[in-house]
């Protein structure tokens, strides 16, 4: 069986903590509360991934794409946002949403296949997170283009808000990414784009994705300032994201960050990574685990005390279990919700949609839906 040879990415990047948690760069100005919140968010995300995987194995959710090992990228960058900012995530940024207080029960219900209307009805939002999150985007790179549009609005309105979006290494091959960065550059949009370079786009390695030396330099062509950071070092990610956000907030335009990390697990639960990956490589990266690294630093600096990590883990496990229990109480969506939210009725309705809704209803009632020969409906 042939495999792609894995190539370790260059470590010429910005780093604050080395893999052993030693300080090797300038520690950004972060208070203890924020540091603890980052740590707790990353732990929550890791435990959430584990829980989601178990639920997938039991058939409760269909597919799971985990952030395991990559938590520092989205946690560190999202922590640089402020109230009123916008975030356009893709599917591996659970920590970004958790950091800003996303409702876990709603997320679980969504993973379980509940329609958004059902989730809204049974798990209404009590308080919107201070940063606005769009629904998670599944098609690659299209979120980045939308995010730049969002940022352009703030630019035109002289708001000091920032829009952040996420893309993977593979997705930088998409046209949408380049179109987005080009618009961001031309219109000085306060858009910060984070490339979560985890070395693999399903089975295709990063070096097969581009002949460019780094993913960071893709911004050069668009005139957008960029940085390359150690993506397993949450303080490095935070520091550079903060710089780019501040610049954008001050009207100085867009920014782009390549965060170098590693996908320590399969692409998603429908994937079979053993076919194309080398187990030794995973071990190499496990030593660089972002949670361990921050934990070591926090214990050394006294932000966490001995016993805190275990206590936090227990607490978040309970939180997750509560969220799952809550999500399990959400009833199965009414199939008729599939017809909702296509067009606004007040601008004019759709005969076809109403007719097809009747047909579905008849079908579900065990009636024959094909008995209308006049167009006047089934009832």
């Amino acid at each position: 069986m042939s495999q792609w040879q894995e190539q370790r990415p260059s470590e010429e990047f910005y780093r604050v903590l080395d893999p052993d948690g030693n300080v090797v760069g300038e520690v950004p100005d972060v208070d203890e509360e924020t540091l603890t919140r980052m740590y707790r968010t990353m732990v929550t995300s890791r435990e959430f991934d584990e829980k989601a995987l178990r639920m997938q194995r039991r058939g409760e959710v269909s597919i799971v794409a985990r952030a395991t090992g990559e938590e520092a990228v989205s946690c560190g960058s999202a922590a640089a946002l402020e109230e009123g900012d916008w975030c356009f995530p893709s599917y591996r940024q659970t920590p970004a949403a958790l950091y800003w207080g996303a409702d876990m029960a709603r997320a679980v219900a969504g993973m379980m296949g509940a329609e958004p209307e059902t989730v809204d009805e049974h798990l209404p939002v009590e308080e919107e997170p201070p940063v606005s999150f769009t629904p998670v985007y599944v098609p690659l790179a299209v979120n980045v283009t939308n995010a730049v549009g969002s940022a352009m609005v703030d630019r035109f309105r002289d708001n000091d808000a920032v829009t952040m979006s996420y893309i993977g290494d593979g997705s930088t091959s998409q046209g949408d990414f380049h179109e987005a960065l080009n618009f961001a550059g031309v219109f000085d949009a306060p858009a910060v784009t984070v490339c979560q370079n985890n070395q693999w786009a399903i089975s295709v390695p990063a070096h097969r994705q581009t002949a460019a030396e780094t993913f960071a330099q893709k911004a050069v062509a668009h005139g957008v300032p960029y940085d390359r950071v150690d993506g397993n070092d949450v303080l490095a990610v935070y520091a550079k994201a903060k710089e780019h956000c501040e610049r954008a907030r001050n009207g100085e335009g867009a920014g782009y960050i390549e965060a170098v990390t590693y996908r320590m697990v399969e692409h998603n639960t429908a994937d079979e990574e053993s076919v194309y990956r080398d187990a030794d490589e995973r071990e190499y990266w496990e030593d660089k685990d972002p949670i361990d690294r921050l934990e070591t630093f926090l214990l050394r600096t006294g932000v966490l005390e001995e016993g805190d990590p275990e206590r936090i883990r227990e607490e978040v496990r309970d939180e997750i279990q509560d969220a799952v229990d809550e999500a399990r109480e959400v009833p199965v969506s009414d199939p008729e919700t599939m017809f909702e939210h296509h067009l606004h009725e007040e601008s004019g309705g759709s005969w076809a949609q109403e007719h097809q809704r009747q047909e579905l209803r008849a079908e579900r009632n065990g009636e024959n839906p094909f008995t209308d020969f006049t167009g006047e409906g089934l009832e």
Binding site: P116, T145, F373, T374
Partner: protein
């Protein structure tokens, strides 16, 4: 104010052709609502290749008339992000044949955002595209591929056929909270003027209109073909009813069925390719819901299932008065 008959001769107003009606309506909507912004390529100083946005950059400035890099997908994708943030964006795609690079953003975000967010994110946007043929232009400048749009849920597709219709439908589209594709039949941009009221008015986005009433046969059409339907109606020995579909999606099925149930004969006339075009849909609806009222099979007078030909042969591709007349005559002459 709903227009259901052809005659607007009693209508007071300024004489306008179709493209000046577009321009006047954009100006009107930008004046009444400052969240309306235009974006597109070449729409700035030159006012668009058809001058539809002429004078608007000067009046509203470059942050409301946004001349963009040459990137249809970039235009549509950033427009979606802007619309999600409470802007009413009116992007222009220079020609319908240049829309294809934007198909990704169209399918992934524009038509899906409202539904996938459970109604929490709205994308109010009116994408203007000059479309269709007859202008002796070059490749990809004469496309009528509206089926790609109509096949897709979550979007309205509107085609005006007169200056009066243009103003009412475009204003309604811009004010709608849905994404709308507003297809402008460029062949008739400057063919003919009519009085268009200076005051604001809108036309419904889910109703066909009767261009004229008749008893023997219905011609369903839209856009630039409406004028051929009228000419054909004058040349055949039959009392022809003409229905201008004007909103291709959602389709006004009630009016379609009402008319054919009365006349018993139907012709669908459009420039688009025949296979899976609007004619296929209208014909299928008539088959499903009005078969026992038919006195003849439904015929489709359309373009052919070919790529739009070069300008020496486009006249042979495009339906005209003769093709419309032949189709009407054929269904009139048919006997079961």
């Amino acid at each position: 104010m709903s227009l259901t008959t052809e005659s607007r001769s009693d209508q007071a107003g300024r004489e306008m052709n179709l493209v000046t009606a577009v321009n006047a309506t954009l100006r009107q909507e930008m004046q009444r609502d400052e969240s309306v912004r235009l974006m597109g390529y070449d729409i700035g100083p030159i006012g668009g290749v058809y001058r539809a946005t002429q004078g608007l950059l000067e009046e509203f400035g470059e942050e409301r008339v946004i001349d963009t890099p040459l990137s249809e997908n970039g235009i549509l994708g950033t427009a979606v992000g802007m619309a999600m943030r409470d802007c009413r964006i009116v992007p222009e795609i220079q020609f319908m044949g240049f829309f294809y690079p934007a198909f990704g953003q169209f399918m992934y975000t524009l038509v899906k955002m409202y539904e996938r967010s459970g109604g929490n994110l709205e994308v109010p946007m009116t994408v203007r595209m000059p479309y269709s043929g007859g202008i002796k232009s070059s490749e990809y400048h004469s496309e009528s591929t509206e089926t790609y749009l109509v096949h897709t849920p979550g979007v309205r597709v509107v085609v005006p056929s007169t200056p009066y219709e243009t103003k009412g439908l475009l204003a309604a589209s811009i004010r709608s909270d849905d994404p709308v594709f507003f297809l402008e039949p460029k062949k008739i941009y400057r063919e003919g003027k009519e009085p268009v009221p200076e005051e604001e008015y809108t036309l419904p986005l889910d109703e066909a209109r009767y261009v004229r009433r008749g008893e023997d046969v219905t011609v369903y059409t839209y856009g630039a073909m409406t004028r051929h339907a009228k000419a054909a109606a004058d040349s055949v020995d039959a009392d022809v009813e003409i229905v201008d579909l004007r909103t291709l999606s959602p389709l006004d099925v009630e009016t379609i069925l009402e008319s054919v149930k009365k006349t018993g004969r139907a012709v669908v006339l459009h420039e688009a390719r025949r296979t899976l075009g609007m004619g296929a849909e209208v014909s299928a609806l008539i088959n499903e819901y009005a078969l026992d009222r038919l006195k003849a099979p439904v015929k489709r007078a359309t373009g052919f299932d070919v790529h739009f030909p070069g300008h020496q042969t486009e006249h042979a591709y495009l339906p005209d008065e003769q093709r419309a007349t032949d189709a009407i005559q054929a269904v009139m002459d048919y006997e079961f």
